[in-house]
């Protein structure tokens, strides 16, 4: 019997620690900030992995969903909710941001019924640019100057909570009946259609879930930085998320966690190098891709994220599809 008893204990300990660190001042502010960025990036990478890794599509506009979440949540906390109730209504705002992004994700899923691969990449890319363009043109929320006035509502416990919740939901989704459908689309869409997978429905749900969590990450990001502008959510941000996913490895939640953590921490650690860190970082990425084309985890999963029934049958490795 494969035992994984430490997981709930570790989660409880982590949650306690996330309260203890800010209130007791165990780590200095800077390290806490990095930890929160790591958490937000993990949510982003894992949610993009659902589309790009598990479903095998190539979506390049994830920052667009993040932007919608960030703007919806910020508008709610600043303009709609009474400021005194801010901390209590913060989860509502974040979820509303996620729902807003999910709703738009539904619209982006529809072209994916007809095209995939590079043509879908174009749709998501255009979507990203359109979102940025729309926010730049709405004067009521600051236009190109950006939107501010948010309180710093994103705290370490909230980031920890949302990271765990999103990873938990996505893991359960991936290993459910639905998740098998997602993977079967990656391996062979026509065959999975013949095997009575409702590919339209699966694609729609996958896009909605993925964009929902990107929106959640956006809401957290906005209330951590306390300032957003449309340029933060351009193609460069989407590229960052893509790099985290492929660095960690496609089709692996542990990979997304690793990829987001390594990318975020390494960039901070190399900060003394100034601009040269942004020269070094892509070089390392290229070398990694040459020697490990599937990323660090690459379709393998850590024990903690694998359901017990798969551990018992030894099915920890997904099949290596020809199309991915």
């Amino acid at each position: 019997m494969a035992k994984r008893w430490p997981l709930p204990v570790l989660l409880a300990l982590g949650f306690l620690l996330s309260f203890a660190i800010p209130s007791l001042g165990l780590l200095d502010q800077y390290v806490q900030l990095i930890l929160m960025y790591v958490g937000i990036n993990i949510i982003l990478a894992a949610s993009l992995n659902l589309i790009n890794g598990y479903m095998g599509e190539f979506s390049v506009g994830h920052a667009g969903f993040m932007a919608i979440g960030a703007y919806v949540a910020s508008i709610l906390t600043v303009l709609v909710f009474p400021s005194a109730a801010g901390p209590w209504l913060f989860p509502v705002a974040v979820i509303a941001g996620g729902l807003g992004a999910g709703l738009v994700g539904m619209a982006v899923a529809i072209p994916s019924f007809r095209t995939r691969g590079d043509y879908l990449a174009i749709v998501t890319l255009a979507f990203n640019m359109i979102v940025k363009s729309v926010f730049e043109n709405i004067e009521a929320i600051g236009g190109p100057r950006g939107f501010l006035g948010m309180d710093k509502l994103t705290t370490l416990p909230w980031v920890f909570f949302w990271t765990v919740v999103s990873l938990w939901i996505m893991r359960n989704l991936v290993y459910s009946n639905f998740g098998r459908g997602v993977i079967s689309i990656r391996e062979d869409e026509i065959a999975s259609d013949l095997m009575s997978v409702n590919t339209r429905q699966v694609k729609l749900v996958a896009f909605v879930v993925s964009s929902f969590f990107a929106g959640i990450a956006g809401g957290l990001f906005a209330h951590l930085l306390q300032f957003i502008n449309p340029r933060m959510f351009d193609i460069l941000k989407s590229t960052d998320i893509l790099i985290m996913v492929y660095l960690g490895g496609i089709g692996s939640i542990a990979g997304s966690v690793l990829g987001a953590t390594i990318y975020t921490v390494l960039l901070e650690w190399l900060r003394p190098l100034g601009i040269w860190r942004m020269v070094l970082m892509p070089l390392m990425l290229v070398l990694l891709m040459i020697y490990r084309p599937r990323g660090i985890m690459g379709l393998r999963e850590a024990r903690w994220f694998t359901p017990v029934r798969d551990l018992m049958t030894g099915k920890r490795h997904q099949s290596l599809g020809a199309r991915t």
Binding site: N52, F58, P111, R114, T115, D118, Y119, A121, I122, V123, L125, A126, F127, M129, I130, K132, S133, V134, E136, N137, D188, E189, I190, A191, L194, I235, L236, T239, L242, I243, Y246, I250, I275, W276, M278, V279, M281, P282, L283, L285, V286, M289, I290, P293, R294, T324
Partner: protein, 293 residues
């Protein structure tokens, strides 16, 4: 009427630059089925080569253009050999991510060497003729004419020469062609050299037409050119040219028609492209590849 003609000229100028870059995307895609996301940054390097050659050596326009094209073509071949060749058997997305990495490397390497936006010196004495109320600058004529000439040259190479035949053969079938004695690696190198050389020509002309250049200028232009290639039907050379002129026309039209404020340029351009892709999901000249079960 003169206004319409004036804006048509502007659209042709912008469109020919997009088309030249889109050609690089579509050629590499046709032969390797890989999106070379570093291509927009090679366009930027082309503009910087032009700047460096013109500033430090003081050469006139033609040698500057040729040297910049040769330099960037060489760089493109080196990048293919070092970064993309080891990944030919790997999953396709690994190569795409590598290309993104190469692009970020080029941007920031240029930025590290050269932290400020630069101003390309005037290589062409720009004279403006007024024909029936329309002002035509010699620079505009040069950009449009040179781009069309380069595109015709490329079309000739691909359709009428042995190298072009080999390129078309490789994009048709990658497994049989090497058995027929086609040197695949050399043809891929030539494809990269041609594609990036055209990108450099676009960069040089962009530097002349819109003189301020900075290391990040290749990102947006590059992504837009990629959209042109897809709209035309990726892998199709004539499609890329058509796509480039369409995007140039749409962008100028949005600004010139004054129906929308000019800040909506990207919004309308990309919205129209999305609508087009819904009706022709494989682009204007692209052929759907039937999936075999």
């Amino acid at each position: 009427m003169t206004y319409v003609f004036q804006q048509t000229l502007n659209a042709l100028q912008l469109g020919s630059i997009y088309a030249l870059i889109a050609l690089g995307y579509t050629m590499v895609y046709g032969i390797l089925t890989m999106i070379n996301f570093a291509h927009g940054d090679l366009f930027m390097i082309g503009a910087f080569f032009c700047f460096a050659i013109a500033t430090f050596f003081g050469l006139p326009f033609v040698p500057t253009l040729l040297l910049s094209m040769i330099g960037v073509a060489f760089l493109g071949v080196v990048i293919e050999r070092l970064a993309y060749k080891p990944l030919r058997q790997a999953p396709r997305v690994s190569a795409v991510i590598t290309a993104l990495g190469v692009g970020i490397f080029l941007e920031n390497f240029t930025l590290a060497l050269n932290p400020y936006p630069q101003h390309v010196p005037t290589l062409i004495t720009d004279t403006t003729w007024i024909v029936g109320g329309v002002s035509i600058s010699s620079l505009q004529i040069l950009v449009i004419g040179l781009s069309l000439a380069l595109m015709m040259l490329l079309d000739f190479i691909v359709r009428r020469t042995m190298v072009g035949m080999a390129m078309r053969a490789i994009s048709w079938d990658k497994s049989i062609v090497p058995l027929m004695g086609v040197p695949v690696n050399r043809i891929i190198s030539i494809t990269f050299a041609l594609g990036t050389g055209l990108g450099a020509a676009a960069g040089t002309m962009y530097g002349l037409a819109y003189p301020v250049i900075d290391p990040y200028m290749g990102i947006l232009v590059g992504w837009k050119a990629f959209i042109c290639a897809v709209v035309g039907g990726i892998g199709s050379i004539r499609g890329a040219m058509i796509g480039g002129f369409i995007l140039g026309a749409v962008e100028i039209l949005v600004v010139a028609s004054k129906i929308f404020p000019s800040t909506y340029r990207d919004f309308v351009a990309f919205g129209l492209l999305l609508v087009l892709l819904i009706f022709r999901p494989y682009g204007i000249l692209g052929k759907p590849r039937p999936q075999k079960v």
